[in-house]
């Protein structure tokens, strides 16, 4: 009896012990494998290895360092990856994109592919800009247009231009400030010359004084009782000046008539005739002088020509 029971309990114990570690080992192995497979699945999903996808092609002159596996974006969302980059000829590179099938409806035939950078140090990304006019959805293995990427070299060229300009400007500025500090011009004296400054200060002080004087003068003009101020401000004075000027006008008219009468008077006629003759004579002499000068100049020109 005993000999029968013993082996059975022994075997049971042994089985218990074996299954005790076997299930632990099984769990350990399964969890490890699940972790590994899960990682591979998720990494693959990121690279679009699983799930339905479609292909698009785009040609570029330069891909600016785009690499296989870089992301493809539409409106900033990752929708696929760059699957292949190959030379088409000596100037063209063809890029194959693998994109999730579910976003195909958003990409139209006139969509444009361009290459941009993910941050300053980041990877290159291929950005698809949605088309505007077309309503036709792209097909599998379609080709979409591309836009030239802004390359670092282009950027550098424009930066260099700006820097060159800046160098010229700063050199000019340096020269300007040097002149300012050491020159004799009015502006530099204004800045550096103490004497000049003092004299300007004096001038300004004088100006200030004269303006105060002028202020007083205008006040007096407006409110004073002197002749000038009355001339400016007093209406009655104005009117009386006006009437006196009218009187002067009539008086001069009368005087003109008197002079005309005097010209025709036999006592004074001789004097006026003499005056007229003298004037005519002066005019004749002037004309003669001008003619002689002209002749001299002509002769000089002829001489010069013959020497030549």
């Amino acid at each position: 009896m005993g000999s029968l029971v013993f082996p059975i309990t022994n075997k049971k114990n042994k089985m218990k012990k074996e299954s005790g570690y076997q299930w632990k080992l099984g769990m350990f192995v399964i969890i490890g494998l699940v972790l590994f497979v899960g990682t591979i699945y998720f990494v693959g999903k990121q690279k679009n290895l699983f799930g339905s996808t479609f292909e698009l092609y785009s040609k570029f002159n330069s891909v600016s360092g785009l690499e296989i596996g870089n992301n493809v974006r539409l409106s900033g969302i990752n929708i696929g990856t760059v699957d292949d980059i190959d030379f088409l000829n000596d100037t063209l590179v063809i890029v194959r994109l693998v994109i999730k099938d579910e976003v195909r409806q958003f990409i139209k035939k006139d969509a444009i592919a361009s290459i941009s950078s993910d941050g300053l140090m980041g990877d290159k990304v291929l950005v698809i800009s949605a088309g505007k006019k077309s309503n036709v959805i792209v097909e599998d293995k379609d080709q979409i247009a591309s836009k030239r990427a802004i390359e670092m070299d282009d950027l550098m060229v424009s930066v260099k231009k700006s820097v060159d300009n800046a160098a010229v400007i700063t050199a000019e500025l340096a020269q300007f400030s040097y002149n300012m500090n050491n020159g004799n011009g009015a502006l530099s004296k204004l800045i550096s010359d103490e004497q000049f400054g003092n004299s300007i200060k004096g001038t300004i002080l004088n100006l200030e004084k004269s303006t105060t004087e002028f202020k007083r003068f205008t006040v007096n003009m407006n409110n004073g009782k002197g002749a000038l101020s009355k001339l400016v401000g007093d209406e009655r004075m104005g009117k009386s000046v006006d009437s006196s000027l009218t009187n002067v006008k009539t008086a001069t008219k009368g005087l003109n008539e008197v002079i005309e009468a005097a010209k025709h008077n036999f006592l004074l006629r001789g004097f006026f005739k003499k005056k007229k003759k003298e004037e005519e004579k002066k005019q004749e002499e002037l004309d003669n002088l001008e003619e002689e000068q002209m002749k001299k100049e002509l002769q000089m020109d002829v001489k010069n020509d013959s020497i030549k």
Binding site: E18, Y21, L25, F28, I31, G32, L35, T39, V43
Partner: protein, 263 residues
């Protein structure tokens, strides 16, 4: 003068001879392993038991070290990345360095310490106490029963332990990031997975198989070839750890070169 020179020369030649002898023996040992591994009968039960001892029993140690590696790596890299304003790259950096290099090598070194020394001491003491001879007498192939199972177990369990270390290390990194900042777990994991590619995972996983194979083989070789005497057990265990650790670094270097060449 002359005699010392001659003695030195002799000692160098004997050292070189011993080294080459050892390498030859190891090669023979390995080729015997490959021969025995194909030939039936298969010691499945013993293999499972060894897998349990080597894999499952090492899990707590590997988990703790993996977690600490992830945490410390994150905390240590943070200041440098913060200098460049690139703290958002922390998850990808930690994940890449863990998966590509740190987790495989550190886990393998830990296992070299724990498993290789264990195998060396166990087989060494069996050899010393003539249990291996007794096995041969009772018609059990000791090489198949003791060596093949252990080497297979280490070859398959070390990669699994490394995967665990990767996973736990990434979680440690998550906690490390959240000590200073605040990153959502989903965002963290998606950043980690975004940065990893197959060319990161496969070479790293491939080399762990070699790590495992060498850890098991060196432990078994040292134990199986232990000299008679109790002290040789300790010697076998010690030299198993040293040689296995060194071989891990050498394999790592070769793996990096090969990965560079092909990927």
């Amino acid at each position: 003068m002359n005699t010392t020179l001659i003695a030195k020369k002799e000692s160098i030649t004997t050292y070189l001879k011993e080294t080459f002898n050892d390498i030859g023996k190891v090669t023979l040992f390995a080729s015997r392993f490959f021969r025995e591994v194909i030939k039936p009968p298969y010691e499945i039960k013993e293999l499972i038991k060894q897998c349990y001892i080597i894999g499952y029993k090492s899990l707590p140690l590997v988990t703790v070290t993996g977690f600490i590696m992830g945490l410390v790596l994150t905390l240590q890299s943070r200041p440098t990345l913060a200098k460049f304003g690139a703290e958002s790259w922390l998850p990808s950096m930690v994940a890449l360095s863990l998966i590509r290099e740190i987790a495989p090598v550190i886990t393998a070194l830990i296992c070299a310490g724990k498993v290789s020394s264990g195998i060396g001491a166990e087989l060494g003491s069996m050899k010393v106490t003539e249990q291996i001879d007794a096995m041969e007498v009772s018609a059990i192939n000791p090489f198949k029963y003791l060596v093949v199972t252990r080497i297979l177990a280490t070859t398959f369990m070390i990669p699994l332990l490394v995967i665990f270390a990767d996973g736990i290390g990434v979680i440690g990194g998550y906690i490390g990031i959240n000590i200073h900042g605040d990153v959502n777990l989903y965002r963290y994991l998606s950043q980690v997975l975004e940065s990893i590619t197959f060319s990161d995972i496969f070479p790293a996983t491939m080399k762990t198989f070699f790590f495992g194979f060498f850890i098991g083989m060196i432990g078994c070789y040292k134990g199986f070839n232990a000299a008679n005497g109790t002290e040789s057990v300790g010697k076998a265990a010690n030299s198993a750890v040293v040689t296995a650790s060194l071989s891990i670094f050498i394999i790592d270097m070769i793996a990096v070169q090969l990965t560079d060449l092909f990927l």
